[in-house]
Symmetry: C2
Subunit: 585 residues, 2 copies
């Protein structure tokens, strides 16, 4: 009630909470106010020295710590953590994130509108405030992959009607928009007509094409924020959302001096489970921005009030009267590690531990049966190349990989042919199997679409995943066909997840039973599973600085340069299928 705070200030009603003796970050003035914070219900009534008669139901000694607004993440995907919302919320609340705008793009690819609705329901009524953004680009590469769903204008309308959905999720097919793709523009228009928040994904456009994209009403981007791109986007009226990988000294310097601050924010986009555990959530980005030279109060502003404005949350993002009492108490402004986290006036986390146990959401039963693939045999992973028996060598396309990025080179190389069979020694197979029999194409997957990876000479065994961007088809990497079949079948059996196999033995697995992309397990359990799995990955010989990212991105046909989907090998620059074997001689 608007009235309650007033009643507390005039002494007619006790404050519910008074946090004494804190250094309050004022995000409006970028200054620090010493004093107390008085809260009535879920709302901050007063900040400063309390020098008027009043009472309080509960008093906490802030012990001179900083009081920072709860962090607000204006663009992220819950599924990147592979955790269901309840456990995820517990984890990031403890890091100080109290509000997120989540784009359920992954579960949407698998389960369609039902997935979006389920994630919205699973994320409702938690101390973590979750706004859902309706995923707009499903499948990411129509015609080049099969997903569990397809989003057109009608589907966008349907999603925007779901309670908790606040806007259009990142429009990823930027070229499609700039080229005037009718279906995609229909999706965008459905959101524009409603006047909701509209998020973009524009790594590569510039000049008139960037403006064409902006002219549709989409007005935020979180992709390429190298300095020239960030400048152009700010000038074109975009809100720029800086993720960790684009935090750089030159950008920090530029935004810090930029005369108009309100359209700049820090966001996480994707934070894998292990990074969450090791570094934290949005607080890690704020910490990094500060380490790179951004003044702390400004960095905090980028992750609080600016994000709130973007998300049209007019009562969040500040420790100030009239704002919801989402407050972090912390000892210093470099680490951004909250000792205490308040959400809506309730103490919800302390010393990195969530104090509140979120109720587990029961996903619809069919979400637990999302890997619609017939059991596979070793021979399903054999190359069927149909080479003339006399051929001695063949020119083939391979995904040229390295140990650092997930960008592949479209390499062509000659390999020996023996008895009509390619000699692929030193290469790793990737097999992708359509798994959305409950989706648009009502038949379980069976056919294995095969590609070859160069760059991992030590690989031996198999790694499988049902988490594979963006269609999340069953994806298996391997050098041994039996191991590949075993890994795949294990995931079919457990309803999805990650699996590592060597010499006919399952080394490790991470079950992701919800839609094949999320676990409902406990954090400690998951930590162990991931620890085991990463050791197994190491043992199998996938040497990469980000093995999970690598494993989940070799299927993404909108990333460069060559990828393998359930429908075939794709030249992603040319957006066309290419054969594995170009010629033989």
């Amino acid at each position: 009630m608007a009235a309650d705070c007033v009643y507390s200030i005039i002494g007619k009603k006790p404050f519910d909470l008074v946090i004494k003796n804190v250094k309050i970050i004022n995000v409006f003035t970028e200054s620090i106010v010493k004093g107390d914070i008085a809260v009535t219900g879920d709302t901050i009534a007063y900040i400063g020295k309390i020098d008027f008669p009043c009472t309080a139901r509960r008093e906490i000694d802030g012990a001179g710590r900083y009081a920072v607004p709860g962090l607000i993440d204006a663009h992220m995907h819950i599924e990147s953590s592979m955790m269901a919302p309840a456990r995820f919320a517990e984890l990031i609340l403890a890091c100080g994130t109290t509000t997120v705008a989540a784009d359920p793009h992954e579960i949407g690819n698998v389960c369609g509108a039902a997935g979006v609705r389920a994630l919205a329901e699973a994320s409702a009524n938690m101390p973590l405030h979750v706004l859902m953004m309706a995923p707009s680009t499903i499948p990411s590469a129509p015609g080049l992959e099969r997903s569990g769903w397809s989003v057109g204008a009608a589907e966008m309308e349907e999603m925007l009607d779901i309670p908790g959905v606040a806007g259009l999720g990142e429009v990823m097919d930027f070229n499609g928009v700039a080229d005037g793709d009718e279906r995609l523009l229909g999706v965008v228009e459905a959101a524009r007509k409603r006047g909701v928040i509209m998020d973009g994904h524009v790594p590569a456009l510039t000049g008139a094409r960037l403006q064409a994209f902006r002219s549709t009403g989409v007005d935020a981007d979180h992709t390429d924020m190298s300095l020239p791109r960030a400048r152009e986007k700010l000038a074109a009226g975009f809100s720029i959302q800086i993720q960790n990988s684009f935090l750089a000294k030159d950008l920090i310097e530029y935004v810090d001096q930029f005369p108009l601050q309100d359209r700049i924010m820090l966001i996480t986009d994707d934070v894998p489970f292990i990074e969450l555990i090791e570094h934290g959530h949005l607080n890690a980005n704020v910490r990094r921005a500060i380490a790179l030279g951004l003044r702390p109060l400004r960095a905090i502003r980028y992750a609080t009030i600016n994000a709130a404005s973007r998300l049209r949350l007019y009562d969040r993002g500040a420790v100030s009267p009239g704002y919801k009492a989402d407050i972090l108490l912390m000892k210093d402004l470099e680490e951004i590690k909250p000792d205490m986290v308040f959400s809506d006036g309730q103490l919800v986390a302390e010393n990195g531990r969530c104090l509140v146990r979120m109720e587990r959401y029961k996903f619809p039963e069919e979400f637990y049966h999302s890997v619609h693939v017939l059991p596979l045999a070793a021979e399903d992973f054999a190359l069927k190349t149909d080479l003339p028996p006399e051929a001695k060598e063949a020119l083939i396309h391979v995904l040229g990989c390295n140990e650092v990025t997930t960008r592949t080179k479209n390499e062509r190389r000659w390999v020996p042919v023996r008895g009509g069979q390619l000699d692929i020694t030193g290469l790793v197979k990737v097999g992708v199997i359509y798994r959305h029999g409950c989706g648009l194409e009502k038949a379980p997957g069976k056919e294995v679409s095969l590609g070859l990876l160069a760059g991992f000479p030590d690989f031996q065994g198999a790694l499988a995943s049902t988490y594979a961007h963006d269609s999340h088809n069953l994806t298996v990497y391997g050098t041994d066909e039996s191991d590949m079949a075993l890994a795949a079948n294990r995931l079919i059996e457990i309803g999805g997840g990650l699996c590592a196999v060597q010499d006919g033995k399952i080394l490790a697995e991470v079950p992701l039973p919800v839609a094949g992309v999320l676990t409902e397990g406990e954090v400690d359990e998951l930590k162990e599973q991931f620890g085991d799995f990463f050791r197994a990955v190491e043992r199998v010989g996938l040497r990469h600085s980000h093995p999970m990212m690598f494993m989940t991105l070799m299927t993404l046909a909108v990333s460069l340069e060559i990828k393998c989907t359930d429908m075939g090998l794709v030249d992603t620059l040319e957006k066309k299928f290419i054969p594995l074997v170009v010629e033989a001689r």
Copy 2:
């Protein structure tokens, strides 16, 4: 359509308008871009050099002029101009204001929710974009005056349902809020629950009381912006809206250096007709801010994109792709006089003249019969003081006036008594008669509530008005009781307005037939009427720098220090009635 701009950029559809060769103000970067502006439908598709193949239905040579976003006034009252929306819109569009947030507080006082609805309807579908704010404080001084309506939570709900109403109009009883007045807080809560825009009016609060006010969710103020007040309000999370009278060098300097720019704006609040004609509208304030030292691009920002953000208009306030094509072309950035005004891509004004003729809105018939007062006689204006026949002198309360402000001093002075009658030589009577017989109290007014003004020794005759803040009761100033009755009866006869009488003759009148506060006349006609009326005021001897303001504010019981309402003389500091005669001897 989101798609149309894209189609134009890729050459599939002509642009509807290209303005060539302009210097475009970029409000995001506060910089100037030389180039062209391309518009499709009502939306800007592209700015900059057009270096791609395309066609245009219409091309205009900008001749090197500046292209500025249409001005947006985040807080104002249409009724202050005394013009119905159609003619008013024509006038201010020509000044470059393309969007306003209007609080129909005056017509709401007279006609209630029907007044708000009528003004919203009258303001719809014009090239001037009007957001209505639901007046929140009617009557302004409950118990001290009678108005045509009374706003509680239910009435607020009713207004917020009216199409075109975007939020809570300025909450003027700031003391009531800070004191915890339940009825008023119910009104505020009705708006807060809906999450709409909430405007305040907080000239006098500071410290905990200011925070109490802010804690209710009301987050803008446009009143006292002396530097210390403005600083405190910014720090407390208010948007500050600076009106002309608070534009000062020290404030300008402060806001110009303020690190966070987005919550600062320029607004008009009240612009009387004559000022509109002579100086312009919001452009006059921008001009003045620049003259006082604010950098022009920042001043423009305060009156465009910042106001748009406040009003949650995400596609107005910038000359940038994706924004509605509300564009002003002007030769320089000091005068802010647009040569051409575009609204939604249409040329609507040129060289100070509106090119579009707005359709006249037919107000409900009863609006034209809003002065419910029985015919008055000279003796109705006689003082009935009931003094003992032997009294020689009496101590009376007078409104101590001066020639500059509308603030009165609560003066007590001894005047001679002769034959039981006060000798009020040198004083001017003010008589206020309840006129809302169609409102809450269903009976025509008859009783004249009388007060005395000191400060106008030359006054001779009578001036009457049905426009009198905030209840707009029939108000008559005069030294001659017959002249007063004549002026009053004339306004009763013509349905309201302004009237000047001397020596039994009507000198001039300005009819305001709509609710007694608005005219539907043409600008030229009104100019003549006002010219005549001001000359008559001069002749009657009301010497004041702002005679209209003066005449309409002696009834406002929420302004200082002593005022006269239809219910009696009010000590507005103590909020209580006081007698005309204190004692006699």
